[in-house]
Subunit: 165 residues, 2 copies
């Protein structure tokens, strides 16, 4: 069975007891979370989010440079006024370089992707600090509280790395 079919079955259960059809479009808690796409991280469960609470933006590494379009829309059109960044231990982004993945794609897919920055990093804490600074310095991002965490996939805990205060 494809995963799609399994998702449809699971969703039928979710919808059968669904009671949140009246939620409004703007996030109630006025916050945008930028987190890694990693399968082990569930931002809603790990941070106590209910449906309607927060924008959740996710990509490989939880990199803010790749989330800028979404953050601008979140702030300018939907009123969020705080940003939370969540990277995590044992991240895949620690395991390769642009050269490695570009080489693999050239070998396997016969494509040149030298124009794509895959945004890997060598130091987890620094990756969070770099992303806080990038947002803080961007003229396209409002001056709002920004807090960065490392999620420990081993313990389920978030550990604060820095903020923009």
């Amino acid at each position: 069975m494809s995963v799609a079919k399994e998702f449809e079955a699971a969703n039928a259960n979710y919808a059968a007891s669904f009671t949140k059809g009246d939620l409004q479009l703007p996030p109630q808690r006025k916050v945008a979370v930028v987190a890694c796409m990693d399968a082990r991280l569930d931002p809603a469960r790990a941070l106590g989010l209910e449906e309607g609470d927060a924008h959740v933006i996710r990509n490989a590494g939880g990199r803010v440079s790749d989330a800028l379009r979404s953050i601008i829309i979140s702030q300018q059109l939907l009123g969020t006024r705080e940003i939370i960044i969540v990277h995590h231990t044992d991240c895949g982004m620690l395991t390769f370089t642009d050269e490695v993945i570009r080489g693999k794609i050239h070998e396997d897919l016969k494509q040149n992707v030298d124009h794509i920055a895959f945004l890997p990093f060598g130091d987890l804490r620094q990756s969070v600090l770099d992303d806080i600074l990038l947002l803080k310095d961007s003229p396209l991002v409002l001056d709002v509280p920004i807090t960065g965490y490392l999620y420990e996939t081993e313990t389920g805990r978030i550990v604060k790395v820095g903020d923009n205060q």
Copy 2:
């Protein structure tokens, strides 16, 4: 109290009963979900995802062109072999155009963002079909099953819009 402090308190509860510290990095169900960042959509609850199951990539609109870096990493380095796209009813991306948001940013932030494509859309179903086609035609994306849904924020249901078969 900042939302960050509330997240820290909620996370302490999550971590106190955490039992999933042994999960592996590659997603167990070998699937990547691309979904909108909308606050009302919780992909894990709505699709029956447990920690460790799936990559979840989220951005404004759930647009795949803005998820390409993450999809390539997901497939090339972490072995996912199916893609699920989830857009949703009452999406904020239906409410503006590039001209509108560029004008607002020029007015409010005194910045020119004519170089940023904000990827809004006028037709929900078509936005899903367009995104399936973009992935299907990309030489950087493997030929894997792709299924696109609309999530109904009013009912909690996902409705299939198309696939690449």
